[in-house]
Symmetry: C3
Subunit: 260 residues, 3 copies
């Protein structure tokens, strides 16, 4: 059914039938997104394109796709380091948005903030059923989601629902996420990967050129969103990150996490 591929330090690579490749986050305990993981994800996606993979599934650990940004590690970065990280993270989002092959986000459990962000740019989102939380809760931790992420959310769920979800700054349940269109399907946790494989197979059996060209037309607005001036707002994000409000909120968050 599947065979192992050379995996990297923080990512397991599993090839399924029909040139479908699973890229599984493997950075215990929480698949928190740090500079090293972003670098490996960028390399792994490039490798998939080079290997002429037909479809990709992005997954995480059972019960936890990703806890989002690795705030404790990011708090140790200076301004240049933070700028480099944010730039690489946007390069990752752009790679997902402009991927030559369809990408399914297989959200195997919790997937708040950064985890949800990556999934926004994928072709399709399959969420594990269960008491999991996801959503763009950045405001609650003092962060501002840049315009390109806002645009991706607008495209997915509509302009006004995007305003309500982003401004609320709350994590939401699996059911709420499906209700507002943040995920496409909710399946039993142990069915996420097989369902993602099935979804890709159904699509990949169609006339290839027609499929890929149609997909490109439908996703052009998402790909172009990265070209809008201010789309990523790098300066503003870095400035915001080092602002007193954000640093205080972040440090309080980390202190709470360390106590827990």
């Amino acid at each position: 059914m599947s065979e192992s591929q050379p995996s990297t330090a923080l990512i397991d690579i599993i090839d399924h039938d029909d040139a479908i490749r699973e890229i599984r986050l493997a950075r215990p305990p929480a698949n928190a997104i740090n500079p090293a993981l972003v670098t490996e994800l960028n390399q792994t996606l490039d490798q998939a394109a080079d290997d002429r993979i037909a479809g990709v599934i992005l997954t995480g650990a059972p019960g936890l796709f990703s806890a989002g940004l690795d705030v404790p590690e990011l708090l140790t970065l200076d301004e240049a380091g933070m700028r480099a990280f944010w730039s690489d993270f946007f390069a990752l989002l752009q790679r997902v948005a402009r991927s030559p092959m369809p990408i399914v986000a297989g959200l195997t459990g919790h997937s708040p903030a950064g985890g949800t962000v990556i999934a926004l740019f994928a072709d399709y989102r399959i969420q594990a059923d269960g008491p999991y939380q996801l959503g763009l809760n950045e405001v609650q931790v003092g962060l501002v989601v840049p315009p390109v992420i806002h645009q991706a959310l607008v495209r997915l769920i509509g302009a006004y629902p995007a305003e309500r979800h982003l401004v609320a700054g709350q994590m939401i349940s699996v059911d709420q996420a499906q209700a507002i269109g943040l995920v496409d399907e909710v399946v039993a946790a142990d069915q996420v990967i097989s369902r993602a494989v099935e979804w890709l197979k159904t699509h990949l059996k169609m006339p290839r050129k027609a499929l890929l060209t149609t997909r490109a037309i439908c996703r052009e607005e998402l790909a172009q969103a990265f070209e809008t001036p201010g789309a990523m707002d790098l300066d503003q994000f870095v400035k915001g990150w080092f602002s007193e409000e954000t640093q205080q909120t972040m440090k309080a968050l980390v202190a709470r996490l360390q106590k827990a």
Copy 2:
């Protein structure tokens, strides 16, 4: 819980906890929107910004938020007067759209036409449950809603639903309004204000700068809509107002209202 503020002739101002200010239309019997009320609303919103109010609730009388434009009075205006009124009304919509603090429309009862229009530009809409009517029924009375109001509706409920609602020119029920997304919540009539206060408090307890910057990103398209050439279409609206079709329809409407 709340303390009275210096109110104006046509508006009651009630300050609630946590720098939340209620701006209550108080122009009996129907809170009909005439030049004086628009002027006072503009001043009251500027005052709220000057007073560093954190959140605003716009409300009306129990059972009647506003009956919409004061057609009998507006019919007495000449072209210059109508142009001045329409210009001030758009300044009001722009103030609501670009408000530095969140504004909740507390629709305490009926809220057709002009009442619905103002609410479109607010952050959130809470409607009193009951046999109330609202919606953009301008077509039925011979009026054309200008592009910027159309755009605000598109942003709220989507392009095609906006076409159907505007072209139909009908008032709709509370349930229909919620179904198409014209209001966000329907609560018991006596809960509208307390629910609006609660909604604002939940939002206002988050990191302030992140909240307001995220809100600005999400609402930028709405704010920018006023810059589009032809957005308000002042000339066209004034011309339409004095057209035979519109004047006849309006006068028939006023005659019916006076008989009733």
Copy 3:
């Protein structure tokens, strides 16, 4: 109730009350869209405008609005012929999008691909209830829907649902079509025409100028979509049509249809 009008070879014209004209596809057995039918539809719509018709209903045969493009006939065309057909077909879509009077698509039965495409540009879509299939399944037969059709679908059902529907390339049921907003109403098959007449009458009794101006504002984006460079992508479509993948898929399709 209705009187016959001079019909054309492939179209029946039936005038109903209140200047409402039904334009009924009458090209047995399947109302397949070939160059002659497109030419007649263009002429018939121009005639309706010249006759100052107030509203149009586009219908087909009971159980079958249209089977879509007449692939067997189109496969006999050379490049110049295909280019001319595609250009005329786009002129038809543009005529529907920019029609001076409202057009209701009365989908009397099956309406896949080309049938759905025409309906996208109408004001309103009423679908016959039953085991019918519709939807934009072009990808499955190796075709790429050009950007202007994608845009019309986005406007109707939203950006992301449009991506999913187009990339899936599947026909869908009447219920699914209503769920995603591809049709507005589903009524008993023998009620499609009378319901379309009723819908038009309800709208046409409103102040005419306000109705038509509001409709024009709401539909301007749809009308303007034809002006976007690359909207119709004539060169690309013709090139795609004669590509190996598409020709093979089409010929296999025709072979299957002839066997059946």
